[in-house]
Structures are given as C-alpha cells and as structure tokens.
C-alpha cells in the first residue's frame, strides 16, 4: 500500500472516509500520521483542519461530522503530534480521556450494585474505557486510550496520567481469554470460554508495552500463532504492532500479501512498517 493511495483517497473537505463517502475521524487520524511520517505535510495539514471540525466542547472528539458526542476516537486524535493538533486541543483530549471510564466503574453504578447486593466481579475492579460514553469499558478503546496516555506521559510525565495508565493496564490483565490473548472483552459466554481475536490481542499487547506478566507471555504465544495463519490486514497490522511492542516480531518480518479493505488499514500498514524500521509514531 502506498502513500499515493492515501493522497488519492482524501476527500475535498480534507478528511478521509473508511472506504468511500464522508470523512471519519479514525481514518483521518491514521492518514495524517502516515502522511506526516512520509513528509506529505500539506495533505496532512488539510486532514488536521478537518479533524478540528469534529472537536467537541467537552474536550473530546466526535467520530463523524454531525455526530454530537465525544467518543473513543478522542484517544486517536490525542496520538497526533501536539504541534499538529494544537496545545489546547491536545490538552482537552487528554483531560477527556482522564475523565472517562466505563459505566460499570462510575460511582453511581457501583452504589446501585452495592444496594442491590450484587458482588463485584474481579474483572470489573479496574476501570477501562468505553467506545461510547455511558456504556461499559472494552478491550479496544482501553488499549487505544492507554497508547495515547502513554505517549503523553513520555512527552510530559505526570503521576495522574501514569496512575490512569496503570489502571487501564490492570483492566486488560484481568480480561484475557482462557486460552490467552483477548477478544472484544467478553471472557465468558454463558459459562463457555470465549475465543481470542487477533486484532484485539495485538491492540492489547501494544497497550501493555513494557509490562511483564504471565498474561502477556501467554498472549505473545497466541499472537505468534495468529500471525502465521491470519489473512486480515487489520489483524496483521495490530498483531505486528503488539509484537513489536514486546520485541517479539522477527527482524525483517514481511507480512503476507493481503488486501487492505479500508483506508485506516492502509495507513496503519504504513505506520507499522515505520515502527518496524524503528521510527515510532505511537510511542515516540
């Protein structure tokens, strides 16, 4: 996949669609990161201008123009270099992330459960992040939020951020599938063990960079197995990133030829290739 694909896929408004149609925040963030890495600064700047149209007053970001709600994509926007998105916008995004948890971790919900006499399951002890406010925390948005906060904590260390990262990581460490790795975040299904997915296993491993744990070790084995049998560009992108995070991707590894189905996948493919070369846009 090439930078030309991204340039030709840019909408007139400056953003990118997932496949075709209107601009969405997620593909636009990944495209901006990939173009920035390639020195295509003009197209990236137009992308950033579009992203600003989805900014919300609460500091978060909407996934699509016209959606009046800050969501999980706020983590993605805060992954952008501060110099691109602007200091106050970036700070607003970080604050939004720090103030957001899954609904099951809110004081009101805990009080309700306590009053009903419901025991609190171990996997709910630590707060993760939801896809959409007012709902539960899941593996995907929690992993992305940790990536964003980790990047911010490297840029500008903060105890508050470090503590929230730690909570999020503990959330992930409590949610692996029995066979190792992660799915969307549901460990059991009517007493049956749920199976892990390659893409969420890769995402969680990326978020657990630097963490040593039997859960991580088992997940790395699972991810290695997925890498050899997977035919999804999205899954391969995240698996590669997750394995790179732990130094477990073989030097010179070349992914199999699989089609990128969306512009997000194309951009991520380019970004992960940069990570393989040692140029980090996720942790740098």
């Amino acid at each position: 996949m090439s930078i030309e694909t991204l340039l030709s896929g840019q909408n007139r408004d400056g953003g990118w669609p997932y496949v075709r149609g209107g601009s969405w925040t997620e593909p636009t963030v990944y495209a901006v990161l990939a173009l920035t890495a390639s020195g295509e600064t003009q197209a990236a700047a137009r992308g950033v201008r579009w992203i600003h149209t989805t900014a919300r007053r609460d500091g978060g970001w909407a996934p699509y123009a016209g959606v009046e709600q800050s969501t999980w994509v706020t983590a993605l926007v805060t992954l952008l270099p501060v110099g691109l998105v602007g200091k106050s916008s970036h700070a607003g995004g970080i604050e939004w992330l720090l103030g957001t948890t899954g609904k099951e971790s809110t004081g009101l919900y805990r009080l309700r459960e306590w009053m009903l006499g419901n025991a609190r399951p171990a996997e709910l002890e630590f707060p993760g992040w939801p896809w959409f406010p007012g709902t539960a925390a899941w593996v995907g948005p929690t992993s992305l939020a940790i990536l964003a906060l980790e990047k911010e904590n490297r840029r500008k260390p903060s105890r508050r951020i470090a503590e929230r990262i730690e909570e999020g990581r503990r959330f992930l460490l409590r949610r692996p599938c029995r066979q190792g790795g992660w799915n969307h975040g549901s460990v059991q299904d009517l007493a049956y063990d749920s199976r892990p997915y390659p893409e969420t296993t890769g995402m969680a491993l990326a978020a657990l960079r630097g963490v040593h744990s039997p859960v991580v070790d088992r997940a790395l084995e699972v991810a290695g197995g997925f890498l050899g049998e997977c035919h999804s560009a999205d899954a391969l992108n995240w698996l590669r990133l997750g394995l790179i995070a732990h130094g477990n991707l073989a030097a010179g590894y070349c992914p199999p030829e699989v089609p990128c189905r969306t512009l997000s996948e194309s951009s991520l493919d380019l970004l992960v290739a940069e990570e393989q070369k040692g140029r980090s846009l996720f942790w740098g």
Binding site: E26, Y64, T71, W131, T135, Y197, H231, D234, R261, T262
Partner: protein, 330 residues
C-alpha cells in the same frame, strides 16, 4: 471517491430523499415515511434442506408469493455475519444471500446491495471472505456496504421503547426502499431467539457506537430491537432455517437442521412463526410482545395467514440453554 446516489424509486434522488426524511423526522419526531398496515400478515414456510443450486428457484418462488413490487426500487439485503468460522453455522449461508439478491434483481429492482455491520469484529470484509461470500457472490466487494463504516444520519424513533432518544443509522439502510433481513435461525443467550428483528442490531454503526454496540445493551436489548423495528419500516424477511443454531446461540451453539425458509413482510409474524417452528413460545419473547401491533404486525398464530408448509409438519425443537427452559412452547 464518493458513492453515487441513485433515485429512490419515488421520483426523487437519494440525497433529496434523505434530506426530506431528516426534515420530516425533525418536524414530526418520526423517521422515514409511513407505510400502510398490512392486513392480514402473511408468512410462508418453505421446505429447503440443502444449500444447493435448487435454492435459487425456491427463493424466487417464495418471494413471488408475497407479491412485492420492487421494480425500480433500491433493495438492501441484510444477512447476519458474526464470526470468522466458515464451517460453523454462525453466519447466514452465502448461497441463500446470493439467491435472495438474484431474485430481487430478476424482479426488476434498480439496485440490490448486501449490507452488514458485525457486532464484534471490525474487519467485516475479511469476515465475509472467510464466511464464503467472496466465492459465492460475484463482484461481492462492489455490492457490499459495511454498515459499521457507512455514512450516518441522526434519526429519532417514531415510537420509543428503549431509553434511546436518538440513534445514528447508516444512510444505506435509511435510504433503502426495501430492507430485506436474512438472518440465521438461532437461539440467543440473552433474548431467547435471534431472527429477522434481532438481526437489525447489525445496522447500528460500530464506527459511532463501537464493537460491540454496547449502547444497545445498556438501553435494553429487547426494547432496542423494538426501536429498530420502528425505525426501519419498509422490510421483508427471509429466515435461514435450513441449518440453524440451537443451545448457546448466537455464537457458541450447535448446528440444528430445521430444513425450512420462513418469509414474509411482517417481521413480528415471521419471527413468531420461526419461534413456533423452533418450539419456542413467541409470547415469551419480550421484543415480539413489544413490537406486536406496530404497523399492524401480528403475533398470535390465529392472526397470521400461513402459506406453504404447516408449522406442525416442520416443527423442530431447538435445544435451549437451562436459563431459557421457560420459553419452551408447550
């Protein structure tokens, strides 16, 4: 690259239709044009025991019985795609979906698209490929829309059952002249049975709400099914009961051959009939009770005009999880 918006079949462009619908929804609090009640509810049960070439003729004859006029209209076919397991019975069989598409094309539909937005997996096209859709449906990528990533519009249910005041829904679905729900006949570990109405969870965009679409769970699953039923009024249903799923559905259950297709315009009547085939009491399925009566929909067996096979001749008890024994039809 932008999607080309065709005409809706009502003499206006798709873009005009969407704009007019949005304006009407704002003014009246109601999404989409009203449709006249269908009296009586007609449901057909057709024997089909194999996923083979004979299915094309069976599906065409089944749809013909319902006298749908889709000439010049835009048809969107919504299968149930859940997981990457081609040898399991989680997903609607691609041959059935292709047969449905071919039937509507041969009936003169202006366009027939396949559209789905899985609830757990983000890589929808990869999932469709693993489920056999690329091999079965020619030029699949050209006719397929990932509803998780489609452009969306805000809509407000005309009749609210859940706490949701509004939803963002895909333009492909809201602009369809006919939405054809083609689910797998399965038991469901939360709502008892997942059929043509529960299949509408797949129209809620993951790009906005995430994977899973957890906002629907927190707002009440049964109530949200009824909301979506109200939001998508122009529908037809063909349920894949050739081989369904029993036990811990909709993902971890076991295959169960019922050897039937169940079809009709009234989703409540179709799903209630499926329940009776599965030996589940439809009156104990909450979302069916909620939606019963909406747009003239029918739940009681005596109010459904049954054609084709009789329920008793095809009844196939689906195993139920211990938690759901109380919904067994006695």
């Amino acid at each position: 690259m932008r999607r080309t918006h065709g005409t809706s079949g009502f003499g206006i462009t798709r873009r005009e239709w969407l704009a007019a619908s949005a304006a009407a929804a704002t003014l009246t609090g109601c999404a989409g044009p009203a449709v006249p009640p269908e009296v009586p509810a007609q449901v057909s049960i057709v024997r089909a025991t194999e996923y083979d070439q004979g299915l094309y003729d069976t599906v065409r004859r089944t749809i013909d019985e319902h006298r749908l006029d889709v000439r010049g209209r835009r048809v969107v076919v919504k299968p149930n795609l859940v997981e990457f397991e081609p040898h399991n019975v989680i997903n609607t069989h691609p041959l059935l979906v292709h047969a449905v598409c071919e039937a509507f094309r041969s009936m003169g539909a202006a366009s027939v698209q396949i559209a789905e937005g899985p609830g757990h997996r983000r890589n929808t096209l990869d999932l469709a490929e693993a489920a056999g859709y690329f091999k079965t449906v020619p030029r699949f990528e050209e006719v397929f829309v990932d509803l998780n990533l489609d452009d969306v519009s805000r809509v407000r249910p005309s009749r609210r059952f859940s706490r949701l005041e509004e939803l963002y829904l895909p333009n492909t679905v809201m602009g369809a002249d006919l939405l054809v729900s083609v689910p797998k006949m399965k038991t469901h570990h939360w709502v008892g049975a997942t059929l043509s109405m529960k299949n509408l969870f797949g129209v809620v965009p993951g790009g906005v709400y995430g994977w899973p679409k957890n906002v629907l769970h927190w707002s009440g699953i049964d109530e949200c099914i009824a909301d979506l039923d109200a939001l998508c009024p122009r529908r037809f249903a063909i349920v894949d009961g050739i081989v369904g799923m029993e036990g811990n559905g909709p993902i971890l259950g076991a295959p169960k051959a019922a050897g039937v297709l169940v079809a009709g315009r009234d989703p409540v009547a179709v799903d209630a009939t499926c329940c009776r085939v599965m030996r589940i009491d439809p009156a104990r399925i909450k979302y069916l009770r909620l939606a019963c009566g909406e747009r003239g929909s029918r739940l009681p067996e005596g109010e459904v005009h049954q054609i084709g096979e009789q329920i008793r001749s095809v009844a196939t008890p689906f195993a139920l999880a211990p938690e759901f024994q109380s919904i067994r039809l006695t």
